[in-house]
Symmetry: C2
Subunit: 286 residues, 2 copies
């Protein structure tokens, strides 16, 4: 049983499949637990709510090492602790590979939920949290630059890989944005362009982004140099960092956690430098 003092509850659910959403040779059980928790807690925060609990359905092979399972549980617990939430229950069943069905609940604290459909022409578009870090880390792993080896904590490349393994969503910025009067909000899970496309469509507006307004993090820049890639590709289309993207009335004084990167105008679609952005990001069926 979970407390719902607001009298309403927001819910988010995700299914994570081994080999598609994580690899056991690239992420520890602890990393997978933190990441699986984070992506649902971030989705709740993106509605402007404070996450209260997770419930977890776990499918696992009979020979899954107990250590891995213990670490997974620890990861769920520690990520929940970041926001004062807890694991409220679950279900375990056999499966040939590890499958996680994760559901997060959250409390609105009296605010209206922020949805994807509240963007209006004249508003600014802002982001909180990291963009492109997880994608840079994944690219390093895919290029064979990292395997089971522990991350070099100090290095920029190590930070990128760590970002792939454990996103750090800016949870508190969700309820903060709601208090600041955010029109629309979501967490960036599939890539900023693709996710803002959902906002543009649901709101019936056009979103214009200024690529010069984005900060390219040092891990993203370092990975781009290492692999000969364009760092802005990862910033604009990389998923899994669970940054928050929101629209705000133009006269709002945004705290430093939010960075203005564009504006909402009449029309449709997402535009970068005046050109329609090609759909990027993760294709769930590729």
């Amino acid at each position: 049983m979970v407390s719902a003092p607001d009298g309403r509850v927001v819910v988010s659910t995700d299914l994570l499949i081994e080999g598609r959403h994580f690899r056991r040779d690239w992420s520890s059980g602890y990393d997978v637990g933190r990441k699986a928790a984070a992506q649902n807690l971030a989705d709740v925060a993106a509605m402007g709510a404070v996450p209260t609990c997770l419930v977890i359905g776990l499918g696992m092979p009979a020979d899954l090492p107990v250590d891995w399972l213990d670490a997974l549980t620890d990861g769920f617990r520690d990520e929940c602790a970041e926001v004062g939430a807890s694991v409220a229950g679950g279900d375990v069943t056999g499966c040939d590979l590890v499958v996680l069905g994760v559901t997060a609940l959250g409390d609105l604290g009296g605010s209206a939920p922020v949805t994807r459909s509240g963007a209006r022409p004249g508003q600014v578009v802002a982001v909180a949290g990291r963009l492109g870090h997880a994608a840079a880390g994944l690219a390093l792993l895919e290029a064979g630059r990292y395997g089971q080896a522990p991350v070099e904590e100090g290095s920029a490349l190590g930070e990128a890989v760590a970002a792939h393994r454990r996103p750090r969503p800016p949870y508190r910025c969700g309820p903060e944005a709601a208090r600041l009067g955010a029109g629309a909000m979501l967490d960036v899970s599939d890539g900023l362009l693709q996710d803002l496309g959902h906002v543009a469509k649901a709101s019936g507006v056009r979103i214009e982004l200024d690529p010069a307004a984005f900060t390219v993090g040092e891990p993203v820049a370092a990975a781009a140099k290492e692999l000969g890639a364009d760092p802005l590709d990862w910033v604009l289309t990389g998923g899994d960092d669970h940054a928050l993207a929101a629209t705000f009335p133009p006269d709002v004084a945004l705290p430093p956690s939010w960075q203005v990167v564009g504006r909402v105008v009449a029309g449709e679609g997402v535009y970068v430098r005046g050109r329609s952005a090609v759909q990027g990001g993760w294709d769930h069926f590729r």
Copy 2:
């Protein structure tokens, strides 16, 4: 966003894996949707709550027929409609086989939640709903008595197979039992002996069952005759009917939907005819 007028919310989650919890050659998409919804809605009802919504994580192969998916969605919707609940959201991802992560929320309507730990010596044990029907139907399917063929609605054997495909939990009996002062309650998902074992353990009591007190349904009796099986085995150890089992103070006048089948005494374990019941029911790792 889901209404939680009570200020508390109960949650249940289950993971259903193709090949383990259902087979696409034995159950239609519609059947799978109804069954996946039913088992979570029943779990919520078993806490004494009224189910309010489901959220669904769906993993599916890219070549899953659209018709099957549409039927699945219809099944979820129709089973929810049985209790006035709705599908509030979900997540779709690619997977080599069909995986369903289903979470149900429910409202307590001012009552305290009924748990597994409230059984006390002196109480009676009662069941509501069907027992052994789904297990009899599964046994018929496993024996090759039924395949893709439509169920013969009129026949007793057809009813058993239908019970495997679509459980019919006695949803309303959950909140009813809470109002009647039920001590402990759960829905029978793994078999009555195994599930009452959880109640006995959580409550620190012994549960004694009187096998003569059980009604053997006609579909169960017919399947037992067809396959040369003991129908009581299915009644006591068959899962998936999602009957409700509860303990009540001995002086409560139970409505006809509840049938007294045993009593709670001091001690531990589950006993049938004075002998400790061997752990039965579904082994998730067999």
